[in-house]
């Protein structure tokens, strides 16, 4: 088994970890972590699978490079939304109290 395929399988496991975390954990920050773990798993599958014959493949590498930048953008947006949701929830409770 080549190193590429080994890391692709690890990526599949990480993806499943992330899905489980996304469903099981209730805290928004934890869900964002789980979503990032899923992303890392998908990236490992992309690159690992592309070079399972042992030669480096620049095409998936370039895709994953852009993917990492998109995932931090998505993370920042999710954090902003989570903070807004928390503030909104607090406001509502204050009104209710």
């Amino acid at each position: 088994m080549s190193a590429g395929l080994l890391y692709a399988l690890a990526g599949a496991a990480l993806f499943a970890f992330g899905v489980a975390g996304l469903i099981l954990r209730s805290h928004p920050l934890r869900k964002i972590l789980a979503f990032n773990v899923m992303g890392s798993g998908a990236f490992l599958v992309l690159v690992g699978l592309g070079q399972r014959d042992g030669t480096a493949d620049p095409v998936p590498q370039a895709m994953v490079l852009t993917g990492i930048v998109v995932s931090i953008a998505a993370t920042a947006l999710a954090l902003a939304l989570a903070r807004r949701q928390r503030e909104h929830g607090n406001d509502k409770e204050e009104r209710d109290a």
Partner: protein, 328 residues
Amino acid sequence: MNLAFDLLLIAALLWSAGRALTTPDLFRAVVLFIVFGLLMALAWARLDAPDIALAEAAIGAGLTGALLLDALGHLRGPVRRKSGLIAPSTVMSSEGAGPPAFPTYFLNGLAIVLAVALGLALAGALLLLPEPAISLPREVAAAMDASGVAHPVTAVLLNFRGYDTLLEVAVLWLALLGVLAVAGGRAPGRAPVTPRSARASLKVPRLLARVLAPLALLVAGYLLWAGAHQPGGAFQAGAVLAAAAVLLNLAGLLPGGATPRWVLRAGLGFGLLVFLAVAAAVMGQGVLLQYPPAWAGALIMLIETGLTLSIGLTLAGLFLALSGASRQ
């Protein structure tokens, strides 16, 4: 020997990811996630992908870590509203109290079983895939002469698949607009008070920031230039620029805020506009983003310079908007 190292690294990856999702303490979870990002950078180096390793270390571990640590102060504490399918259970002691009911155990167990099944199905699909009919590395190597650069990943990013990169920069810009819209524009009185402890953990000495920020500029310039013929390029250079801005902000030398002025706004859009202008200029050839071979090198360097500036500003903006919104 290599196999032993790979297996050890994969075990460490799975452990850090698993612990980041299961450990009860959120601060520990974020630190474990940063460790996970650094281990990912090692994995990329093992997979002959130094470009991704650079980006992962700077963005995946560094900037994401700074964002998460900053968010920790705002998002820590029990979840106030319990809604949805799964209530907090005992393993989430720091995130929500209350004994779990019987259906919770059942649903949690079901979710774990389904996730394991998903992982096994994915692994099975990976193992059963047939060999690809065409070899992409060979195609790329055959077309390298016409690409204008000597580094294959840069050639793919900005020439062969320039369209993807163009859209990706637009997505990055849109995400920043979203963050600015959500984080900014709130009345100062309603801004939450940041716990002192959360900010104290992120303090950086001023002297360190003053020494490192010019060095970061130099490194970013080098990475941008090196991208044409070796690992490096606009994304890594932009990430280093953003790291310098975050460092200056943490040292108290650069104010945060969610309402950038027009010079900054112009800088945020500059890379995308340059990219679009080049795309429109070469459209006369009939194909989107197909550069004339004689001009390819210069055009790619032009686009990359614009992208470095805008990616750096955007990534820094993501952090500054979120951290600045709380200190108004």
